[in-house]
């Protein structure tokens, strides 16, 4: 299996705002192996709790930017899964999440998922896995890398 990454970045707002969405197909599913989420504001004068979630998506929404998935090994072929960041229309998330957690805006959340414990979407067109901030008081941008295998 090959490993790819993109750098997630949400639009600025008070949520919900998606930082990254990795979109599979009927032929391939992305297995999320590693992720990190942080927050930025300008000016950075607030100190608030941020609710964040990672979950399945059943529709891709509209991503304002389509980043190039970077192969961790430069000799590998291009990724098959597509990535979307900085959404102008949110993806459709499932009713439940892999992770629904809170974090202070001045902290980071991160995890490396063991083999067999990866987050992944259904083998259906436009299905995938995405990360979003659900609710904050002051407008914020959520950012961070995501690595996946396919």
């Amino acid at each position: 299996m090959k490993m790819y990454s993109v750098q997630g970045l949400s639009a600025s707002g008070t949520g919900p705002q998606t930082a990254w969405n990795i979109i599979g197909s009927t032929a391939i599913r992305a297995l999320i192996k590693r992720w990190r989420l942080g927050f930025r504001t300008n000016p950075n004068s607030t100190d608030q709790q941020v609710r964040v979630a990672i979950g399945n998506t059943t529709a891709a929404g509209t991503a304002g930017s389509a980043p190039t998935p970077k192969a961790n090994d430069p000799q590998d072929v291009a990724a098959v899964a597509t990535a979307g960041i900085t959404h102008s229309a949110e993806p459709t998330y499932g009713a439940t999440f892999f992770l629904d957690n809170d974090c202070n805006q001045r902290a980071n959340l991160a995890d490396v998922l063991d083999d067999g414990f990866e987050f992944c979407g259904a083998a259906t067109a436009s299905n995938g896995v995405a990360a979003k901030m659900i609710l904050v008081t002051a407008a914020i941008v959520m950012s961070g890398p995501v690595h996946w295998r396919e």
Partner: protein, 139 residues
């Protein structure tokens, strides 16, 4: 969706993007601090970005987006590969592995390619100054 339906969907998305841009508090407004910085770096407004529709494991672009993307990718493909002291942008542009075929359905130009080939083209498009939107479309 047919190519004509995708063209209609594209028009609706462009209108929606323009509506976003007209709201001063919107992150897509040209008056937004982050968007201002993005524009200064050479990025384009949301409504000006080509829209790539996901059709399972293929990407489809229609109408003017297809013409723009095909022209830029073919321009990248035509760049010489062996120029010394190439900029990173020029090297990224050479990630295009073959020319893009602009097809036609009912008089509407379109481009269709696998998502894997599309991912290979994204770096070249970025190097050519084209930032794309990606959204559901085909199915």
């Amino acid at each position: 969706m047919s190519i004509a339906e995708l063209l209609n969907k594209r028009a609706a998305l462009v209108q929606r993007a323009k509506a976003h841009e007209m709201v001063p508090q919107s992150p897509w407004s040209p008056d937004n601090a982050i968007m201002k910085q993005s524009l200064a770096e050479g990025h384009t407004l949301l409504s000006e970005r080509p829209i790539a529709f996901i059709d399972d494991d293929e990407i489809v672009l229609v109408g003017p987006d297809a013409e723009l993307v095909a022209a830029k990718l073919n321009e990248a493909w035509d760049l010489p590969a062996d120029v010394p002291d190439q900029s990173p942008q020029a090297r990224h542009a050479k990630t295009v592995t073959k020319k893009v075929e602009l097809r036609d359905e009912g008089g509407i130009p379109y481009v269709r390619m696998s998502t894997q080939r599309w991912n290979g083209c994204l770096l070249a498009l970025s190097a050519m100054g084209v930032m794309c939107i990606v959204t559901d479309g085909g199915r």
